[in-house]
């Protein structure tokens, strides 16, 4: 009997709304519980983005009286979710021209939320203790000389270039091929795995070559020096298979769901005003990742000590 009731109630639920049901207008079931106004933020997997979200969350909750939900989503699916209204804002985007064209310009479901104030840069890095011993390693032309030192079980006779999460922007496979380097790109598959590996190498002072990006808190724990790649010129990365230049410096952007930007009231205005510096972000990120403070407490510490910065964001 229970089976039938379950089936019947399921069917009832399906039939409750006979009109159209637009999936792009459905919020999370956990939102707005007990009458609170809810903002949903997308948190990407790297800690810098967690710091942005943690501070925004703390201020929205304590200064503006919102309830904040955070969802961890990869970068490209986050654009999807933002367009569907599943999340209200992305706090830190590293540049996705294809998605920007599709959602901001064509479908107009997403609007730009201004700059975050932080400039991001991707590159190849070696640990500083290794660069000090072999100063010429910081030029890509000399990398082949050190391929033997950078060999691991996974790189099969070549030097290992450690890459991270598949969600990150990378041309490394094409770069290695087009610069004719004696290296193999080994994908760690997630940033967590990559960081763990880097720390393990650093503990034993072993040399390594890795794809990495700044601003990133790991630099404070494992000092790293950038390897100079052929300089970036506008459009040199247009064809992903023929890239033979380094990565650009990207001013990181915020994006908001179009409906939220229109009717999100104080929260939307606050998120548009949110703008801080690389140092601010690193301070919070380091507390989260190294001191293992819960993001909420890290955000509280920063908020308590920098009132002049965030007072300007309040609407």
């Amino acid at each position: 009997m229970r089976l039938r009731t379950i089936a019947a109630s399921g069917a009832l639920l399906l039939l409750t709304g006979c009109g159209a049901a637009d999936m792009t207008r459905q919020a999370s079931p956990f939102a707005d519980a007990r009458g609170a106004k809810t903002v949903t933020l997308s948190v990407q997997s790297w800690v810098g983005a967690q710091a942005d979200a943690a501070v925004a969350e703390y201020l929205l909750e304590h200064e503006l009286g919102y309830h904040v939900d955070t969802v961890q989503v990869d970068e490209v699916p986050a654009w999807d979710a933002l367009s569907q209204g599943r999340v209200d804002a992305i706090m830190e985007d590293w540049g996705h021209p294809e998605q920007e064209r599709r959602y901001v310009e064509e479908k107009k479901t997403i609007v730009r939320g201004g700059e975050l104030g932080v400039t991001g840069h991707i590159g190849w890095f070696v640990p500083t203790y290794f660069a000090k011993r072999h100063p010429d390693v910081t030029d890509w032309k000399n990398l082949d000389k050190y391929a033997g030192l950078l060999r691991t079980a996974e790189s099969g006779g070549k030097g290992q270039l450690l890459d991270g999460s598949p969600s990150y922007v990378t041309h490394d496979k094409a770069l290695v091929k087009n610069l004719k380097l004696d290296y193999k790109v080994v994908f760690a598959g997630s940033e967590a795995a990559q960081i763990t590996q880097i720390k393990q190498f650093a503990r034993e002072k072993k040399p390594f070559l890795t794809y990495w990006y700044a601003p990133q808190w790991l630099f404070e724990k494992v000092p790293m020096t950038e390897v100079r790649l052929p300089p970036y010129r506008e459009g040199c990365d247009a064809d992903p298979d023929k890239v033979a230049c380094g990565y650009p410096h990207t001013p990181l952007q915020k994006y908001l769901n179009a409906d939220f930007a229109r009717s999100g009231g104080e929260a939307a205005r606050f998120l548009k005003n949110f703008r801080w510096t690389t140092e601010d972000q690193n301070e919070v990120a380091l507390m989260i990742a190294e001191e293992k403070l819960p993001p909420r407490e890290a955000a509280k510490k920063w908020v308590d000590s920098h009132p002049s910065v965030w007072k300007e964001w309040l609407p």
Partner: protein, 647 residues
């Protein structure tokens, strides 16, 4: 082909069987002698021939664009999928609000009282302790979110599974139609089909619930059908002779007779739904899984554990309670009065909590386990990583394992002519099963080639084979120990419970810290995950060996070792084969997740597809994983096996 046979060690075949086996092999050799020269001449003998691949990236790319462009306008989405999604959101929200409204005291009381009614006092206390532990860990709200999602997902899985099971149980044609589908679902790693669900429903709870239903409904369907088909024919005949209608027979005889299977199905469905809770966090399920996933991103094992423990507790409690309910069936009819008292007590506690204004878990009652756990893990990984005297560090083992086992295995598989691998798979599957299973396995392997992912598939296969070999050797050793000593088994049981239900994401990071990035940590994680099932099945199989046979061997003066080798192991052969089969399926599931720690191959492609929303890469890799699963399952599946997943 020693490499492939290593995955499926087989006991010596009895006489008549060996005869048949020789016949099968001869027939296959004959077919090969005719076909291989032709195939080799036409397409060469290296890896999979390019002429036989189909490039699906263009049509898949178009399909993905179509979905994104029409998601908010096309009638299919507005009038069907939109309502499905809406129903999920509404029901999860309803359950969530009820749970929040009951407050922590009310939920704990309700859980404990329900456990008391169906399973007794001890489990009631355990249930209450488990709920309180979730609160002490600071995970009350995420636990309620996960619980709300689970309630809806399990209800939907049970409904869908029971309907399919009814159809298959009552109609022979439906059974033949559904069985291969259910068989396939059984070996399907959950990670493989997240992407299409996300594309249609978008990131969020609806996608997570639906992915969970797809994963958790098959055991219910399978066991319902099994229960209906297995009903005692004499009882049915007796009922029929009373002049009942088919409907009455179903409701009064067949369903009640099948209730043991139905409850077992519910149990399996709950376990599988819970194991999806964390994997589904990759597509925005929220709750505990999301906490684990976020902790993983900041390399915080302690926090991941704090969110993982509630999952383990929920799983163990639900498993024990439904299991106990199954055993109690038919022994003592539970009185409605008892239920009424229990319900009234739960409501009273909830109202009391409400009146006292204590709905939320008090913030001061939270214990922080993250810091000490992180210190312990850090210390262990730092000291085991390298330079341990005599045995070397784990990093050295990993490098050795990669260089001496994984590399030769992968290069060997990839270097073999494509037709020889097909032949080997056909021979193995045919020897152990029927020509049908052999055909399925061979076609499935060929399909990975046609999809254009021959090389990555073989890379994944090599990891699976290596992990299975390690799992079997360790699992058999532990299983034998557990079967021979009760004390050992009692000690092992909680460890196995925890390992079996602990979300894999929790131990991915320590595994990387120990073994570095690459295929070795993926293999290690897979071994950890598959070991409990193998140990359990082995121990159980050995214990169920006919005591009379053992007694007579003992009276003939056989030593312990002789008894084991000559009586127990041969007699437990079906259980051992089942252990191999389960081991293979479980290992594959985790080797795929190993894409997150540098396992590469198909796992990386799936992760990449999810991360970049790239349907072409992700779906092709997902399909190849399904094919590999089929190959591995059929090659290790003895005829007549029928058992639930996950032991």
């Amino acid at each position: 082909m020693a490499t492939v046979t290593a995955g499926a060690p087989r006991a010596a075949l009895p006489g008549p069987l060996r005869h048949r086996a020789v016949g099968k092999l001869l027939l296959l050799a004959l077919a090969a002698a005719v076909l291989v020269p032709f195939a080799a001449a036409r397409w060469g003998s290296g890896g999979w021939p390019a002429a036989l691949t189909v490039d699906l990236s263009a049509p898949l790319g178009r399909a993905s664009d179509w979905i994104i462009d029409n998601r908010d306008g096309h009638p299919l989405f507005l009038y069907f999928l939109g309502h499905v999604s809406n129903a999920v959101v509404v029901s999860v929200r309803a359950v969530y609000l009820v749970l929040l409204g009951a407050g922590w005291a009310g939920v704990t009381a309700l859980g404990a009282l329900v456990a008391w009614r169906v399973a007794g006092v001890r489990l009631a206390l355990g249930t209450a302790a488990a709920f309180l532990a979730c609160g002490v860990l600071g995970m009350w709200v995420p636990t309620m979110q996960t619980l709300a999602l689970m309630v809806v997902a399990v209800a939907a899985s049970v409904a869908v599974g029971a309907l399919l099971g009814l159809a298959a149980g009552l109609s022979g044609r439906m059974d033949r139609l559904l069985r291969p589908v259910l068989d396939t679902m059984q070996v399907l790693p959950a990670f493989a089909y997240l992407l299409p669900v996300v594309l249609v429903f978008g990131i969020g709870v609806p996608a997570a619930v639906l992915a969970t239903v797809v994963y958790a409904a098959p055991p219910m369907a399978r066991l319902t059908a099994l229960g209906l088909r297995g009903a005692d024919p004499e009882v049915l005949e007796a009922v029929e002779s009373l002049g009942t209608t088919a409907r009455q027979r179903l409701l009064t005889a067949r369903l009640p007779l099948a209730r043991k299977e139905l409850l077992l199905g519910l149990n399996q469905t709950i376990m599988m739904a819970l194991s999806m809770a964390v994997i589904a966090s990759v597509i925005g399920a929220g709750g505990l899984g999301d906490r684990v996933y976020q902790a993983l991103a900041s390399v915080d094992v302690g926090a991941a554990l704090a969110a993982g423990i509630p999952i383990v507790l929920l799983a163990v409690v639900l498993d024990r309670v439904t299991g106990a309910a199954g055993r109690r069936l038919g022994t003592a009819g539970s009185s409605p009065a008892g239920w009424l008292y229990a319900l009234a007590a739960a409501v009273a506690v909830a109202v009391a909590g409400r009146l006292l204004g204590r709905l939320d878990w008090p913030g001061t009652w939270v214990a922080d386990i993250a810091a000490p756990v992180n210190r312990a893990v850090g210390w262990t990984t730092a000291h085991l990583h390298s330079g341990v005297p005599y045995v070397g560090g784990t990093a050295d083992w990993a490098a050795g394992f990669t260089a001496w086992v994984l590399d030769p295995l992968r290069d060997g598989l990839q270097g073999l002519p494509w037709w020889s691998l097909l032949l080997a798979v056909a021979a193995l599957a045919w020897l152990i099963g029927t020509w049908r299973t052999a055909l399925t396995a061979t076609l499935a392997l060929a399909a990975t080639g046609v999809l254009g992912v021959w090389k990555p598939s073989l890379d994944t296969l090599s990891q699976v084979l290596a992990a299975v070999a390690v799992t079997l050797v360790t699992g058999l050793a532990i299983g034998v120990a557990a079967a021979r000593s009760d004390r050992c088994e009692r000690l092992l049981r909680p460890v196995l419970d925890v390992l079996q239900t602990m979300p894999q994401f929790v131990y991915l990071i320590p595994v990387v810290a120990l073994f570095g990035v690459g295929r070795a940590p993926a293999v290690a994680a897979a071994v950890v995950y598959a070991l409990p099932a193998v140990v359990r099945i082995t121990a159980q199989g050995l214990r169920e060996v006919d005591p009379a046979a053992l007694e007579s061997a003992r009276s003939l003066g056989a030593t312990g070792g002789q008894q084991l080798r000559q009586i127990q192991l041969p007699l437990a052969r079906p259980a051992l084969l089942l252990a191999v089969n389960q081991g293979v399926v479980l290992v594959l599931a985790v080797v795929i997740i190993g894409g997150l720690v540098g396992g590469g191959a198909l796992g990386y492609d799936v992760v990449y597809g999810l991360a970049q929303g790239d349907l072409a890469t992700g779906l092709v890799a997902g399909a190849a994983i399904v094919c590999l699963g089929l190959v591995l399952d059929r090659v290790t599946q003895p005829t007549g096996r029928r058992a639930g997943k996950g032991a």
